[in-house]
């Protein structure tokens, strides 16, 4: 089931009504079948790999608790089974096709069978969430969940099941095991979050997607047109993915849950590491805590740190999809991070504190981020190479005018994101610190929701597309 469908609207209203109308002890029990209906609505077979992950990790965690001496073996069982599922559904065809191509190039023609199945939605999200839980139990950070119902809800909680944010057991499972309440303030906040999410998806992402899709469908765009398309995609992917997160967080709040945030104004990042602290936070912190730090992080020798960075960024790239451009994208961020680390060590501290420098750093990082999005979006290696080697001097003058027009249109659609930054970073903290805020919160929430809803009605794109991160 997708958020922007009538099915979901009806589903949400019905589930909310039954949920809050039921005694507190039944609520978790109700949310599990609701999540199953949500997830299996279009493809019921998606529930099979999902059930396998849930059942295996529930018993693995219980096993770790009752047999601490077998922790290593049990964690291995969880990791192998989850990555096995991911491997089969997400990476099998990629490896088979590349193996066949390699063997053919060595004059060993082979015909390897490929898997013709749809990638189960959200498999990369829930497998990582479940592995995180098992590792947390093995480290003693959380206790194994004894209620299968509660654990099943932790993995399946429908608002975040398909595209995150990836939750930690210490955050979500604890809430599942505690009583929950909502009040008018929480509902107001939740509705604004949901309205803002839908606005970002239907108005910003879907409108700028028109430019991005047109440019990436072109055979030979000029420099100016190509990078206009990349900028449009840069806005699209942020608006699209953060929209899903906001709708998920807003929906969860209506049920009394607080999901961890996934974004913190990523295009204000001043370095690649800062970008990953702001972009898809739940994935980057997952990779930091469960891969980077166990590998030794950045506390070992410089060469070991570099190797660790390359490993984690390659894995981050591969997490997004089985395609060479994602591998390149990961490698790109590894190289960029390494260069920034080296630069930080060379540039004198006095220079690093120059006034206005941060603005320049943000602008530079924004350019690097766009370059990264080009690698991310362009699946065809030939087009990728062509795009990276295009000269701005070869752009016809008329193309610059079209590019300026489309860039301005993209910027106009992106304007609400800038306004949101100003609201979030400057206005809201000031307002919330005033004594009048408790009285103002409700009218402000109503006004914002009204403005966003009217904006959706008057500015939404003709056609809407699936959320980009559904494919991962």
């Amino acid at each position: 089931m997708i958020f922007h469908s009538l099915h979901f609207v009806v589903f949400l209203i019905v589930v909310l009504a039954i949920y809050w109308g039921s005694p507190a002890r039944w609520r978790n029990f109700l949310l599990v079948p609701a999540s199953i209906v949500f997830y299996g609505f279009v493809h019921p077979w998606f529930l099979l790999p999902f059930a396998a992950t849930t059942i295996i990790d529930y018993f693995v965690a219980r096993g770790i608790e009752s047999h601490p001496d077998r922790t290593r073996a049990l964690v291995t069982v969880s990791v192998v089974s989850n990555l096995g599922l991911l491997g089969v559904f997400k990476y099998y065809n990629f490896f088979v096709e590349n193996a066949a191509a390699l063997l053919t190039s060595l004059h060993i023609p082979v015909s390897l069978p490929v898997l013709n199945v749809v990638l189960p939605a959200g498999i990369s999200f829930y497998t990582f969430q479940s592995i995180g839980y098992v590792v947390d139990v093995s480290r003693g950070h959380v206790r194994a969940c004894h209620s299968f119902r509660d654990y099943a809800l932790f993995v399946s909680f429908f608002p975040q099941l398909v595209a995150g944010p990836i939750q930690r057991a210490g955050h979500l499972l604890t809430q599942i095991q505690s009583p929950r309440t909502v009040n008018a303030g929480i509902v107001g906040e939740a509705l604004v979050l949901i309205a803002w999410g839908f606005f970002k998806k239907l108005v910003i992402a879907d409108n700028v997607a028109i430019t991005a899709n047109k440019v990436f469908a072109m055979q030979d765009p000029s420099f100016a047109i190509l990078w206009t398309g990349v900028l449009a995609f840069c806005i699209q992917i942020f608006a699209d993915f953060s929209a899903y997160t906001d709708i998920a967080r807003g929906t969860a709040r209506l049920f009394g849950f607080d999901l961890s945030p996934n974004f913190n104004h990523p295009y204000l990042a001043d370095s690649p590491s800062d970008f990953w602290r702001r972009w898809h936070i739940s994935l980057s912190t997952w990779i930091r805590d469960y891969i980077f730090i166990p590998l030794g992080g950045s506390r070992q020798s410089e060469s070991r740190t570099i190797i660790n960075l390359v490993i984690v960024f390659l894995l981050t790239g591969l997490w997004h999809g089985a395609s060479w451009n994602f591998v390149l994208w990961g490698l790109y961020y590894a190289v960029l991070t390494i260069i920034y680390r080296a630069a930080a060590a060379i540039v004198p501290k006095t220079l690093q504190t120059l006034p206005g420098l941060r603005l320049g750093q943000i602008a530079l990082m924004f350019l690097f981020t766009n370059l990264g999005w080009f690698i991310f979006r362009e699946h065809d290696v030939h087009h990728l190479w062509r795009g990276l080697t295009l000269s701005p001097a070869a752009t016809p003058a008329a193309d610059w005018r079209v590019a300026a027009y489309l860039t301005t249109m993209t910027a106009l659609f992106a304007l609400p994101i800038v306004l949101h930054m100003i609201w979030d970073l400057l206005l809201r903290p000031r307002l919330e610190s005033t004594r009048a805020w408790p009285r103002l919160a409700w009218p402000v929430a109503t006004l914002l929701s009204l403005v966003l809803f009217v904006g959706i009605l008057l500015l939404r794109s003709d056609t809407t597309q699936d959320f980009i991160y559904f494919q991962f």
């Binding site: 009538l6 509705l191 055979q219 030979d220 005018r401 009217v454 009605l457 003709d462």
Partner: protein
């Protein structure tokens, strides 16, 4: 809160409904060119016919009126409000089409397609409203249909979208340059520049009227299509109408690609109908010399092949135009 947020926007439906004005430029262009042969069609025409090659081959003044993403409703408007308004009218009008387009009046007649039809509409165009259906956008799913029903503000939405485009243009160009930028954007993103295997045209049509509907019965549909009024206009103005069915992208072995298996029966009925009304049909779909090498993206012909295709086209259609005989 919910009542205010969901209720107040319902007021947006009140007030006049905006519409794009009639565009005089095509009229002026035809008056200047005074063509003897006019070609009308969608991107199939735009990517197939090289006007300069056609002028040379035919030895006549030819005008190509290609509007990517158009279909029979817009072709009817072009014929009625632009071509037939010329004095003297052109001798021949050739309409390039695919599959069932001629008897699918609702094909590409809603949403953005509808917007692109408005500059060809003089006033209310009741026949277009009657045959092409609702002037509104076809809903993108059930939720969209419910929203459209509760908040019938699609025209205001289109107007707001147009304003965003207009502001973008205002910020980067003077009003004299608008047309140039628009026209260049159409060329840059036109079908000639699409990647091989990409068919943006078709993707846009998801959920809209299909080109090959199951059980499409010519005899039952033709009366509800734009064909009879188009033939009537041609008869009144003494214009020879030629319909040219282009071959859709064949499979690499040369066999029919997207063509529906029932196309043969449809063409027989269409030919009989047109000939009875004094018009002509040229069916390219079974022509063996239109091979897959001609094609670029989807059913479009590759830009480099346009001159060659134009020659092929004129060899087939030229005698028909000159002699007025049927093939």
């Amino acid at each position: 809160m919910a009542v205010l947020v969901l209720g107040l926007p319902m007021l947006l439906k009140f007030g006049p409904t905006p519409r794009r004005p009639f565009d005089e430029k095509p009229l002026r262009l035809l008056k200047k060119e005074q063509p003897r042969v006019v070609l009308i069609g969608d991107s199939m025409l735009e990517t197939r016919i090289d006007q300069s090659v056609l002028n040379r081959l035919s030895g006549e003044r030819c005008s190509v009126f290609a509007q990517p993403g158009s279909s029979s409703a817009l072709w009817f408007l072009m014929l009625k409000n632009i071509v037939a308004q010329q004095t003297p009218p052109p001798r021949t009008v050739i309409i390039l089409f695919r599959s069932r387009q001629l008897t699918l009046p609702t094909h590409r007649a809603e949403g953005d397609y509808r917007k692109s039809m408005e500059p060809y509409m003089r006033g209310d165009e009741p026949l277009v409203e009657k045959l092409a259906g609702s002037s509104g956008r076809k809903p993108d799913g059930v939720l969209d249909a419910v929203v459209q029903a509760l908040y019938p503000v699609d025209r205001r939405r289109e107007q707001a979208q147009d304003k965003v485009q207009a502001w973008s243009l205002d910020l980067v160009a003077s009003s004299r340059e608008y047309e140039h930028i628009h026209n260049h954007a159409k060329v840059v993103f036109g079908p000639k520049h699409l990647r091989v295997g990409t068919a943006v045209d078709e993707q846009k049509e998801g959920g809209a009227t299909s080109l090959d509907p199951d059980g499409h019965d010519f005899a039952a549909e033709v009366g509800k299509s734009f064909l009879p009024p188009m033939l009537e206009i041609a008869r009144e103005k003494g214009i020879q109408l030629v319909f040219y069915e282009v071959k859709r992208r064949p499979k690499p072995d040369g066999s029919a690609g997207e063509e529906s298996p029932t196309n043969g029966a449809y063409d027989v009925a269409l030919r009989a109908y047109l000939e009875k009304a004094g018009a002509r049909l040229f069916d390219e779909t079974r022509e063996a010399d239109v091979i897959v090498d001609f094609y670029g993206s989807g059913d479009h012909v590759a830009p480099a092949k346009m001159p060659e295709y134009t020659e092929l086209f004129w060899r087939k259609v030229g005698p028909l135009v000159e002699t007025g005989g049927a093939r």
